[in-house]
């Protein structure tokens, strides 16, 4: 799973969680808003239904009074018109409702309104004819109709309550207030009939009837007090005028009437007062109903505004969350995922050796900026390594080529050097044997033996400081000089003097060297030796005696005017002179132990009886075996001169 997929999954989960949290909230807010909006309309219809019920109740009272006294026709028409108007308006409101149950309530209400209208027309026609009996019958029918319509309307009111319910406690309190008003209105309408001067029983209204009215109204008002103790004052205050009037004026007036009926007071005056208060109370009922409606509408409008505010807030919050989510997604994609993908691509490129330039990007996140920067440094580092490798290979090629050239040149020099070395041979009365092992291709050691005259033979051996090509080239120059020095021996110039001349002529720019010069004289059976910093040679007598001879001396080329000593020693038949460079005994074995002159001398003493050829082999094997590598660290050269 890569970063891109992981982030996609995380963002999806995050987005779904946010949606799960926000969408129900938004829907709930919207539902509350729509619901309060509906409640306002329902409340209007509910109020219309309520007003219709009140109008119908009043209409019934008017019909009763009309039947009693043949008056109040005007009141009846007003109440009827009001009831029809309220019922029709409620029917229209429900017809437009989105709630199917409420829509179904529209038709019954409209039917009731039509029944009232149709009947009113019939009633007006009958009244116009003036037939008292027919009018009386019609009044009864009309009354019956009002009862039925009121009953039907109350049923609709009940259905509204069941379907819509009471949204909150304020509306609950207001609903109870409506019920309270309805009860008061019913009681007042009943009382209005009772208080009518020409009532069904005339002035002979029973004490029990009036007392019943008192008890009924008292109970109703007690209901108001109960509500007042349970609900907020402002919802209850709406009916305070009415309740107070009933308490302070209506009930006392009614009690006066009770007292009058009992014989304590003027019955006619009391009955008139009662009728007046009934009308006043009825007016208060109307006012209270209107206030109640205004209050319920105001409350629901305020609730709707609150719901709208909540809905707006939720929508803004949702929009903000969506924008933030989108912004986060953009930032993560553009400023983290894309750069990381690029870094990954580039690292792979660098690992694969593709070192194209890295795009310079201005990144928002400092961490990634650092990674990009490090990537650029990494690329340069890889480029350098690539260039170094190319340089190294080019250099290797150059070295190989140069080495080949040098090697061929050195090989040529070695061939020249070897060509200067004489083969083992007899020269005059001396037989020369030799051993030559250069430590490098070209040696710093050289030697030669030459015939100086019929009776004299010359020998020299040279060891130039250092070894290798440079020492080899110097040794060749020294070889020529040494030959010249031996040939320079004249009756008046002895070997030592000739060597001194050679030393004087030796170029200071060339390396110094050690040398040993020997002049063998067959006539006098002696040999003369000049030692110039070279190891002391070994003289092996015919009888097996081994001695070191020589007096040391300075190497050639060290001191310009150096003087060299010459020694003369017997060199008779069978005597052997061993001349060697220091390389023969300054060899180190693998333990770092030097071969040493003592070991060499001991070897010679031990093998003094050997033939010269065997002696060379013994020395060779001893020196070679000492050095495990088989290659001496310095040039090894040995010349054995034997008098024959």
């Amino acid at each position: 799973m890569n970063i891109r997929n992981t982030l996609a999954v995380l963002f999806m989960a995050f987005g779904l969680t946010l949606a799960a949290l926000l969408v129900p909230q938004v829907l709930e807010s919207n539902r509350t808003y729509t619901s309060t909006n509906d409640q306002i309309v329902v409340d209007q219809a509910r109020n219309d239904v309520f007003e219709a019920v009140l109008a119908l109740r009043k209409g019934r009272t008017a019909l009763t009074l009309l039947a009693m006294r043949g008056e109040a026709g005007i009141g009846l028409r007003d109440d009827l018109a009001a009831a029809v108007m309220f019922l029709n308006r409620a029917a229209q409101t429900f017809a437009m409702s989105e709630n199917a149950v409420l829509r179904q309530l529209s038709d019954p209400l409209a039917q009731q309104a039509d029944r009232l209208s149709d009947n009113a027309v019939d009633f007006a026609n009958i009244t116009a004819l003036g037939d008292a009996e027919a009018i009386a019958a019609a009044l009864v029918m009309q009354q019956q109709l009002f009862v039925e319509v009121q009953h039907e309307t109350l049923l609709v009111r009940q259905q509204i309550l069941q379907e819509v319910g009471i949204p909150d406690t304020v509306m609950g309190a207001l609903q109870m207030m409506r019920n309270y008003i309805l009860s008061v209105s019913n009681a007042l309408n009943d009382d209005l009939v009772l208080a009518a001067p020409n009532g069904p029983d005339g002035n002979r209204i029973g004490l029990r009837q009036v007392q019943s009215s008192v008890d009924r109204m008292t109970t109703i008002n007690q209901f108001y007090s109960d509500i007042a103790s349970a609900y907020r004052p402002d919802t209850i205050m709406v009916a305070l005028d009415l309740a107070a009037y009933l308490d302070s004026t209506y009930l006392p007036t009614l009690n006066n009437y009770v007292a009058a009926v009992s014989g304590n007071g003027n019955l006619t005056a009391a009955q008139r007062d009662w009728a007046t208060t009934v009308n006043d109370a009825d007016l208060l009922v109307n006012q209270t109903t209107a206030r109640l409606f205004a209050m319920s509408q105001a409350h629901l409008t305020s609730e709707r505004e609150e719901a709208r505010r909540m809905l707006n807030m939720m929508l803004i919050l949702t929009a903000f969350v969506v924008v933030m989510f989108g912004l986060s997604l953009y930032l993560v994609t553009q400023h983290i995922v894309r750069p990381l993908t690029y870094v990954q691509l580039k690292i792979n490129d660098i690992a694969a050796g593709h070192l194209d330039p890295i795009i310079r990007k201005k990144l928002l996140l400092r961490d990634l900026d650092t990674v990009f920067d490090a990537l650029r440094a990494l690329r340069i580092s890889s480029r350098r390594r690539e260039m170094l490798t190319a340089d190294r290979l080019a250099l290797n090629e150059h070295i190989v080529e140069a080495h080949g050239i040098l090697r061929s040149e050195v090989d040529a020099a070695a061939k020249v050097q070897l060509s200067l070395l004489p083969r083992p041979e007899r020269v005059g009365h001396i037989r020369f044997s030799s051993l030559f092992q250069p430590s490098s291709v070209v040696a710093g050691d050289t030697y030669d033996f030459i015939n100086l005259s019929d009776t004299r033979v010359g020998l020299f051996q040279i060891d130039v400081a250092g070894h290798g090509a440079a020492a080899g080239l110097v040794s060749m120059a020294a070889h020529i000089s040494a030959r010249r020095a031996l040939r320079g021996i004249k009756p008046d110039i002895n070997l030592a003097q000739s060597v001194q001349t050679m030393n004087a002529h030796w170029s200071p720019e060339l390396t110094y060297f050690t040398a040993l010069f020997v002049e063998f004289d067959a006539t006098s059976r002696v040999a003369r030796l000049v030692q110039a910093g070279h190891p002391h040679p070994v003289l092996m007598r015919k009888d097996g005696k081994v001695l070191r001879i020589g007096q040391g001396g300075l190497p050639i080329g060290v001191v310009d005017g150096a003087v060299f000593d010459m020694i003369e020693f017997d060199f008779d038949y069978g005597d052997r002179l061993l001349v060697f460079s220091d390389g023969i005994y300054e060899n180190f074995n693998s333990e770092g132990e030097i071969y040493s002159e003592e070991r060499l001398v001991q070897l010679l003493q031990d093998n003094a009886s050997c033939s010269t050829a065997d002696l060379v082999e013994v020395i060779k094997s001893s020196v070679v075996s000492w050095n495990k590598a088989g290659v001496p660290s310095d040039d090894v050269s040995l010349v054995i001169a034997e008098r024959i």
Partner: protein, 188 residues
């Protein structure tokens, strides 16, 4: 040649000011050897190398700076061997920022020359070309010998010169050294 006295006096005064205002700059321990090798290489002569100018142009674009130069430091002068964005052949040695660059094998960076006591009074800072930012990578010739520097110069200060920038600048210097040494082979 007849030169009016006043002009002579003017020259004398100007020279005197120049001499007295000479800037001190650090000199590495191998300066004598460095000068000898530079002279022996012949790099400081007037031979124009278009590929070095192209390298400067590339660096100028890559680092988004006003000028880019390849400077070689002789005893008296800073020779501008190659350049981009500026047209100058040489400057006196004492005003050269590269004097500091050739002291070590590391890059030398001045983010804001006006805030660096070593350069705040430098004529190239207080006057034309009003250098504020300088980054130089030494042109390493042989061990401990740096003949000059690959320079990035701008008239606006910078807040940073990152490790990636340093690495890339070093590479430019190496490429410049490589081109110079390649030329040495051809002219040897």
């Amino acid at each position: 040649m007849n030169v009016p006295y006043t002009k002579l006096a003017g020259i004398a005064i100007e020279w005197g000011i120049l001499m007295s205002s000479k800037i001190n700059f650090p000199i590495g321990p191998d300066e004598a050897k460095r000068l000898r090798l530079l002279q022996a290489s012949g790099f400081a002569n007037s031979l124009i190398m278009p590929e070095l100018d192209a390298l400067c142009e590339d660096a100028k674009t890559n680092f988004d700076v006003k000028f880019s130069t390849i400077s070689l430091l002789t005893e008296e002068l800073q020779i501008i061997k190659a350049k981009a964005g500026i047209d100058v052949e040489s400057t006196p040695r004492d005003v050269a920022f590269c004097n500091y660059t050739i002291l070590t094998d590391q890059n030398f960076v001045v983010l804001d020359a006006t805030k660096d006591a070593r350069f705040s009074n430098n004529p190239l800072v207080v006057g034309n070309p009003h250098i504020r930012f300088y980054a130089g990578a030494p042109l390493i010739y042989v061990d401990n010998i740096r003949l000059g520097a690959f320079c990035l110069i701008d008239t606006a200060p910078r807040e940073k010169f990152t490790l990636g920038d340093q690495a890339e600048l070093s590479e430019y210097a190496e490429r410049a050294s490589y081109l110079l040494i390649k030329q040495l082979r051809f002219t040897a």
